[in-house]
């Protein structure tokens, strides 16, 4: 019997166990899911009625306040990978799970200090607006659109995989067909949110989700701390003991400390996390939803506060799960620990009590809301970029009307939704935080170098932009393809085959410097003169907001 078959059978029987536990709570969970879906659909239709022109569809009319956008940015960023993945990683690997959240948070400073305000001042709807500002439009727009769509699809894949695992578990669905149906349902909902509600609808969905997620996390954190009389040392000690790993559970190294290669992998991951955020298209387009650069800056500040507070609480969730639930129960439920947070809710309320059932249902609904809001943001980013960068500026050479552009964006939403449903059902058992880290690596390798050079380097040319986008993109994706994430590992997407020759799971340590190098090399080797007039426009505009939309 091949290892893969064994694994699938094991997983199925184990999910069955957990499913029985959850099945009696099913009506409650389903009604909370349905309540969220109905409420958000209502918002979507309302927002759709107010969406009249391209600025409404792409940028929500640019009328959100800094606080509203800060909340929506947080809603867009705190994905299922953060909520379920980090809590799960801490529950299984202790301290090493916590390392993710630090990179995810510190990364916001790059966005704050170097990217948010200049982007808001000089672009209109997409990341491509800024990258192509002083370059030859068609090739750079094509590159920016390609990279936006690739990064977003990577990220979507992670979210869809998480949705499949979580919802199937909570609803007690064990058949593969059932799981695929769940992924399809999530996909259809996100298509509806984005194509009807546009940025305005998506922003409101994200704000609602952020409030629910923060509320749910505060509740569970409070209950965990209450159990330990607010003695954090006691919580950590119990977690270490219950994990069976002792003091090592509270120290770095359980997940990444095994060999020289895993240590290098950790550095690679760390770099990708800290440099990736400011290159994530779905985050960048959020800065266009506020009236000006100052509001964009303030929304990042709000986001840093909200996201930082949230990650601090995930420490309590993760160690709480490790302290109160056996490792076996966590891995039985999901081999990567992705369901540790909902399990924790169940245990905090009492496994056989109504209170436990209610908590489980609430946290499950929060996780479901989280997934829906994030996939909507990602779909919006990729369909906006397709419509605005590729359709309007490349195919129609800038001559598309606003109506045509918005229609193209709506159609692209359906296409991207279909692709992600297909891919999402393929990658169900991967640790979702791991997949998101790959999206960060691609964003940091292809997008960030080009954004920074465009904004701050006078000599940067079209060729430099193309080399850095495609160079970073191809190397990052290529290395992932030949890494243990895809093949040659029991936890790989295709565990039965082995064409992995790149030893690291995260390509950042190679691909990010490569992206920067290619941008520089492409520039110094190009024959074209940089457009100094256009750079004057971009630079003055990016720092002062002169002529900003």
């Amino acid at each position: 019997m091949s290892p893969a078959i064994t694994q699938v059978q094991l997983a199925a029987s184990e999910v069955q166990l957990a499913a029985n536990e959850a099945s009696e709570h099913r009506p409650l969970i389903i009604s909370l899911f349905a309540a969220f879906v109905i409420a958000t659909l209502f918002i979507t239709v309302w927002a759709g009625r107010q969406t009249k022109d391209a600025a409404d569809f792409y940028a929500g009319g640019r009328q959100f306040s800094a606080f509203q956008n800060g909340l929506a940015v947080s809603g867009d960023y705190m994905s299922a990978a953060s909520f379920l993945g980090i809590a799960g990683a801490i529950a299984l690997f202790g301290y090493d799970g916590f390392l993710y959240s630090i990179g995810f948070l510190v990364a916001w400073l790059v966005a704050l200090l170097l990217v948010a305000e200049p982007l808001r001042n000089s672009g209109r709807y997409t990341m491509g607006d800024v990258l192509a500002y002083r370059m030859r439009q068609r090739p750079v727009r094509t590159a920016a659109g390609t990279s936006t769509i690739v990064v977003s699809i990577f990220y979507l894949l992670a979210q869809m995989a998480g949705a499949g695992v979580l919802v199937s578990l909570l609803l007690g669905i064990t058949s593969d067909a059932g799981k695929i149906l769940i992924v399809a349902l999530v996909g259809v909902l996100m298509i509806v949110y984005v194509s009807i509600g546009g940025m305005k609808g998506t922003t409101w969905v994200q704000m609602v989700k952020a409030v629910l997620l923060i509320g749910g996390t505060i509740l569970i954190t409070f209950l965990v701390l209450l159990k330990f009389n607010f003695n954090i040392s006691d919580l950590l000690g119990t977690a270490a003991e219950n994990s069976g790993k002792g003091a090592a559970f509270l120290e770095p190294g359980l997940q990444y400390g095994a060999t020289g290669t895993t240590k290098l992998d950790f550095i690679s991951l760390g770099i990708a996390l800290v440099l990736g955020t400011a290159g994530l298209p779905h985050i960048l387009i959020r800065f266009y939803t506020v009236p000006n650069a100052k509001a964009a800056r303030k929304s990042v500040n709000w986001a840093i506060g909200i996201i930082g507070g949230f990650y601090l609480m995930t420490i309590a969730l993760g160690f709480g799960a490790a302290a109160l639930i056996s490792q076996k129960e966590i891995t039985d439920s999901n081999p990567s620990g992705n369901t540790a947070a909902p399990l924790l809710a169940l245990h905090l309320g009492g496994v056989d009590s109504a209170w436990g059932a209610i908590l489980l249902a609430v946290i499950s609904a929060v996780a479901f809301a989280t997934i829906l809001a994030v996939v909507a943001g990602l779909t919006l980013a990729s369909s906006s970029s397709f419509a605005h960068d590729i359709y309007a500026n490349v195919i129609k050479k800038g001559k598309a009307t606003e109506k045509e552009e918005v229609r193209a964006a709506r159609l692209a939403t359906i296409g991207i939704g279909a692709v992600s449903i297909l891919l999402g059902s393929l990658a169900r058992d991967l640790n979702v935080a791991g997949l998101v880290a790959l999206a960060f690596a691609v964003a940091a390798s292809a997008n960030l170098p080009t954004i920074l050079y465009s904004l701050f380097w006078k000599r940067f040319t079209t060729q430099g932009a193309l080399w850095s986008i495609y160079g970073g993109l191809i190397v990052a994706v290529g290395l992932v393809l030949f890494s243990p994430v895809v093949s040659g590992d029991p936890k790989a997407m295709f565990p039965d085959v082995d064409f992995a020759w790149f030893p690291l799971k995260n390509p950042g340590i190679i691909s990010i410097p490569f992206g920067f190098l290619m941008g520089w090399l492409g520039t110094v080797l190009s024959k074209e003169e940089p457009d100094t007039g256009k750079y004057a426009e971009l630079e003055v505009r990016s720092l002062t907001g002169t002529g900003a939309h």
Binding site: L105, W108, L112, L113, G257, K263, P291, G305, L543, T544
Partner: protein, 118 residues
């Protein structure tokens, strides 16, 4: 320009010509704004990334040091991690203060003059 300012009107403000942009870019006033931004943002970026990398490297290669218990079950690694949160909050606050006192007024003056269209 308060954040609760009315939304920008759909009619475009006066858009300066490329020549005007070049002229402003070369002006001493704009040079000062650029310096005020870069001299703050660039070194600070290098600083917080180094500080973060130090943390990553220590986690990797100084397990013994990171595992040192300080009080109860709280070890150096945890305190170091929480310190990253703290510095992130502090830098965000510091940049906000710097921007609103040093950058916003300069930027606003240039923008108003250019869009006024002399």
């Amino acid at each position: 320009m308060a954040t609760d300012a009315p939304p920008p009107s759909k009619s475009q403000p006066h858009l300066p010509t490329t020549e005007e942009f070049v002229e402003v870019q070369e002006s001493a006033e704009f040079g000062e704004l650029r310096r005020a931004h870069r001299s703050f943002a660039f070194p600070l970026t290098v600083g917080f990334i180094s500080w973060y990398l130090l943390y990553v490297l220590l986690s990797n290669y100084a397990g013994g040091f990171m595992g040192t218990k300080l009080f109860g079950n709280i070890n150096v690694a945890l305190v170091f991690g929480l310190a990253q949160f703290l510095t992130t909050f502090l830098i965000a606050w510091w940049y906000e203060r710097h921007s609103s006192s040093k950058l916003d007024p300069k930027a606003h003056a240039i923008k108003t003059r250019m869009e006024g269209g002399e």
